[in-house]
């Protein structure tokens, strides 16, 4: 360990010490205001993002972490995303009520910082052990965050459900790691990539790891938890789940698959095809008639991961670029959509049914416009980032000759337009609901606007994202 490594590790150290600091402030003799705690959390997150921006590329820390363009891009994205989620949580009406002593406090913010630490570890890991550590540091705070304000209906149930399923996923993943070690004698991703004579155990190991990751990403058929958890969790936590947490796991999946282990790629390909296919089709079909907005977005994100797998199944460098761009775009689009959902809550609980949003787009033009932009981006309409992501993903599939997969993907895209447009139509519908309006907080409006501007900006200038890791020296 050199001093230079310490500089490289600065974002991780900042996040850890941030979590501890917030916890300390919480037990300070004088009561520290929520505003103060939030500001401290934000400061640590922004500092971590800034520290990541000044990384010298490429670097390795031990054999565990690799600092390259991808990890820089996604570390910045995850920390900034977490900052956005802190803002959303601060303005989130159901937890804003200080009188009920249910305010977001040091525990919540500390858990959020540790979850972010898990993500940053995950996106930078080049060793299966560090990836596992990252996954667990990410998962454990999430159990608690889902069950935030346990008195809520379904809160504990959701937390326990996620804990059990994530436990299963971790077990699969760990077993996969064990088998990989047994067959090759190494857990280093780079070393794994050079193995040429893996036995029959390696495909099994990869499949098990894929199952573990599939659980985390809610790919069909491991998706059962997603709609329930999306609905049960407070919306800012759902936003965390749906955007940066998934993207972090996704980045690790991209690293894993882009090893292109020659002898097992052939065996893996049908699996990827299958996962991509049923995730797209099932996600979209289940979303079609869904009435609850958060559940609908859960199904839609299942479908999106299907599209990303279409890109990854291409197995070429374009596929990797497409998947990375898609992951970035996915974070921004979902963050935007969920920030609108978080802004428009009832005073004590989330809105459930889509109908409860009727006419709100007219009443709050900025939020309505942001929702429109983000949903159209999710649907894949030009000139948004969602379109560029799909163009790259389908392009990768066509370039690899997977024409059938590309055609199925576009038919799914067409299908998905139906439910995204339905939401927008309701947002701008007549006869608005007047029940229980709490004025949306400035923080969530700001997040929604920034996200929608980014969605359009990244769509018109995709090179911002592509070059962010391409041109890494």
């Amino acid at each position: 360990m050199h001093l230079a490594d310490l500089v490289t590790l600065a974002p991780f150290i900042l996040l850890t010490s941030g979590g501890l600091t917030v916890l300390m402030l919480g037990v300070w003799p004088q009561r520290v205001s929520t505003r103060m705690l939030t500001a401290v959390t934000l400061a640590f997150l922004l500092l971590a993002a800034a520290a990541a921006l000044f990384w010298e590329l490429p670097r390795e820390v031990g054999s565990m972490l690799v600092i390259d363009g991808i990890s820089r891009l996604f570390t910045v994205l995850c920390t900034l995303g977490a900052a956005a989620i802190v803002l959303l949580s601060y303005g989130y009406a159901p937890t804003r009520n200080e009188a009920r002593k249910e305010d977001i406090r040091e525990e919540y913010l500390c858990l959020l910082l540790f979850a972010t630490l898990g993500m940053t570890l995950l996106v930078s890991s080049r060793h299966l052990a560090s990836a596992f550590i990252g996954l667990e540091i990410l998962a454990v705070p999430l159990y608690a965050l889902i069950a935030w304000r346990p008195a809520r209906e379904g809160a504990v149930e959701g937390g326990v459900k996620y804990a059990v399923l994530a436990g299963f996923a971790a077990a699969f993943f760990l077993y996969g790691i064990a088998l990989a070690y047994a067959s090759t004698g190494t857990l280093d991703l780079v070393a794994l990539g050079t193995i040429t004579t893996g036995g029959s155990l390696l495909p099994v190991a990869m499949t098990l790891m894929l199952v573990g990751i599939g659980f985390k990403l809610a790919l069909v058929p491991f998706h059962m938890w997603a709609p329930d958890i999306y609905q049960a969790a407070p919306t800012p936590v759902t936003a965390l789940f749906a955007s940066i947490a998934k993207a972090a796991v996704l980045v690790f999946l991209i690293r894993l698959l882009c090893l292109q282990l020659p002898q097992i790629w052939e065996a893996l390909l049908p699996l990827l095809w299958g996962l991509a296919l049923i995730s797209m089709v099932a996600g979209n079909l289940l979303a079609l008639r869904q009435q609850n907005l958060k559940r609908l977005l859960a199904y839609s994100s299942i479908a999106h991961l299907g599209y990303i797998l279409v890109a990854l199944a291409a197995g070429n460098s374009l596929g990797r670029d497409a998947a990375i761009y898609y992951a970035g775009a996915y974070v921004v689009m979902n963050l935007g959509a969920f920030s609108v959902v978080a802004a428009l809550t009832h005073p004590d609980h989330d809105r459930g049914d889509i109908e409860e949003y009727r006419g709100l787009g007219r009443r709050y033009p900025a939020l309505g416009l942001a929702m429109g932009v983000c949903l159209l981006a999710l649907a894949g309409l030009p000139p948004t980032a969602g379109f560029m992501a799909k163009l790259l993903a389908f392009g990768a599939a066509v370039a690899a000759g997977n024409i059938m997969l590309a055609i199925i993907a576009v038919i799914n895209t067409a299908l998905a337009f139906f439910y995204y447009l339905r939401i927008i139509m309701v947002f701008y519908g007549q006869q608005e609901t007047n029940r229980d309006i709490t004025p949306p907080s400035k923080g969530s409006i700001a997040v929604a606007i920034i996200a929608s501007v980014l969605v359009i900006g990244l769509g018109i200038f995709p090179q911002w994202l592509l070059e962010a890791y391409y041109k890494a020296p």
Partner: protein
């Protein structure tokens, strides 16, 4: 020529400006929308005036890098075909604003911005020569149109809007796959990965790949035109849309499909299109007869005009796949004529509906005496729509039939039957609405100045196209020759079209 990008971005920014600054002021948004569409028309007229054909038939070009890493450019070009269609787009802009003046009752600012955004998208489709850019505009025009139908439409507006959107988006996504396929085929052959139309036009497509790619494009265009099996969105969308929406749909959106066939399907895939031409012509003739038959039994005036559009667009496809000078120029002229005539017909139905609250022909009758001016103009446009010599559609239909006759006399006869059916349903419509006994007690007011201005503009265009189409035909000469040469090279067995 940066004026081309002005044509696209001025309505877009204008729409944004109105949306952000109007704050519910109806009069302001009306006049601002009229000003923007009017300025658009003046710019296109100016471009027409200053047109100076280059060597390859392109009057204006604009090329700027956009996403160089992927070979995507901001490439706009205007040749004779684009110019005439841009002219039509710009003409129908103020018409759409003026007919909505009183007809649209709520939320004018939003309506105006969506109208302008649609116009910008359509303009982009007619000008874009980079395939990704083309696709961007192709999808971009759908969304505002969807909202125009879904928010300001009639009773079954949501159903119609969804149907319209899902049909067209499915078609265009298949085109996206075909675009990507073409891109990679070209890239693998030459090592240059680009979406540039002028590069891709020389791609050689071995085996059946050309046919599949062509079908991908064809699907998108066939849905838009719409051709026979995929037409079912059109009657609903046209009927449920507000008057301005119907005018833009029938006048412009349908033309984008036919334009796509001419601009992309034929020159990019000459071999496949040559094989496909008989099928295309057959689909065209089915459209002509099927649309005419269904128009015969309609009770709703808007629905009748919608089916007549299917019939007329069948003629356009007919002419395009005849693939000779007469057929193609007839097709373009007929597109213009149909845009103007049908736009006027929809405007007239909208005016009748504003006055009486109904579109059913059974509720009208004997309106010629209370509404002499409206009746006379309806007669003019009805005669034009059924192909009366001296009026716009005749020129187009005549040229198309002349072109098709050289290829297949039988099909030409079948197409001509469609004209006869057209005479029947159009005259019958006129008779039921304007002649006979009055069936309603209400008091009628004839055209006011605004309405007379709209219809007068369109009437001038109809007469001009019918009586003196030479300036339009002249400007089409070079670009159409280029398209024909790509086909001739195939039929004569030459390895590559002359560049």
């Amino acid at each position: 020529m940066y004026w081309l990008s002005v044509l696209i971005f001025m309505p877009l920014l204008g729409g944004l400006l109105i949306g952000l600054t109007a704050r519910g002021r109806t009069a302001y948004s009306r006049w601002a929308a009229l000003a923007f569409t009017g300025a658009e028309l003046l710019i296109v007229l100016g471009l027409w005036w200053g047109a100076d054909p280059g060597a390859n038939g392109y009057l204006y070009m604009l090329r700027a890098p956009w996403i160089p890493a992927l070979g995507i450019q901001f490439l706009l070009g205007m040749d004779g075909i684009s110019l005439l269609l841009a002219l039509l787009t710009a003409l129908l802009g103020p018409v759409a604003v003026l007919v909505s003046w009183n007809a649209v009752q709520r939320n004018w600012p939003a309506f105006a911005s969506l109208l302008l955004a649609t116009q910008a998208g359509i303009m982009g489709v007619f000008l874009a020569l980079d395939l990704v850019l083309f696709y961007v505009f192709w999808e971009l025009m759908l969304v505002p149109m969807y909202f125009l139908i879904g928010v300001w439409g009639h009773q079954r507006r949501l159903y119609a809007a969804y149907k319209f959107f899902l049909f067209t988006v499915t078609g265009s996504l298949l085109m996206l796959v075909a675009i990507l396929g073409l891109y990679f085929t070209h890239g693998k052959q030459t090592g240059i990965y680009t979406f540039d139309y002028f590069e891709l036009i020389h791609t050689s497509l071995p085996g059946t790949s050309g046919m599949w790619l062509m079908l991908g494009f064809f699907m998108a265009f066939a849905v838009k035109i719409p051709l026979f099996p995929v037409h079912s969105w059109l009657p609903d969308a046209h009927t449920e849309a507000p008057t301005a929406g119907s005018i833009l749909l029938a006048g412009l959106l349908l033309k984008t499909g036919a334009y796509g066939l001419m601009r992309f399907c034929l020159p990019l895939f000459p071999d496949a299109s040559a094989v496909f031409a008989p099928v295309g012509m057959t689909l065209g003739v089915i459209g002509i007869l099927y649309g005419a038959m269904l128009a015969l039994v309609q009770e709703d005036m808007k629905r009748l005009i919608a089916f007549s559009s299917i019939s007329h667009l069948g003629f356009v496809v007919f002419g395009i796949y005849a693939w000779n000078q007469q057929g193609l120029s007839g097709a373009v002229i007929l597109m213009l004529a149909h845009g103007v005539t049908t736009g006027a017909m929809f405007a007239l139905v909208g005016m009748l509906e504003e006055r009486s609250g109904t579109r059913l022909m059974a509720n009208f009758g004997g309106l010629l005496s209370p509404l002499p001016r409206l009746g006379a103009l309806l007669l003019l446009f009805t005669l034009s729509a059924m192909g009366m010599p001296g009026l716009a559609n005749f020129t187009g239909e005549f040229l198309v039939l002349a072109g098709v006759f050289q290829v297949s006399a039988g099909l030409a006869v079948a197409g001509a039957l469609g004209i006869i059916a057209g005479v029947i349903y159009l005259l019958w419509m006129y008779q039921r609405v304007m002649l006979g006994e009055m069936r309603s007690e209400q008091t009628w007011t004839d055209l006011d100045r605004r309405e007379a201005l709209v219809l007068g503009l369109l009437a001038i265009a109809v007469l001009w196209l019918g009586l003196y189409p030479a300036p339009f035909l002249d400007i089409l000469q070079t670009p159409l020759t280029t398209i024909i040469e790509s086909g001739v090279a195939v039929t004569t067995g030459a390895a590559d079209a002359p560049r």
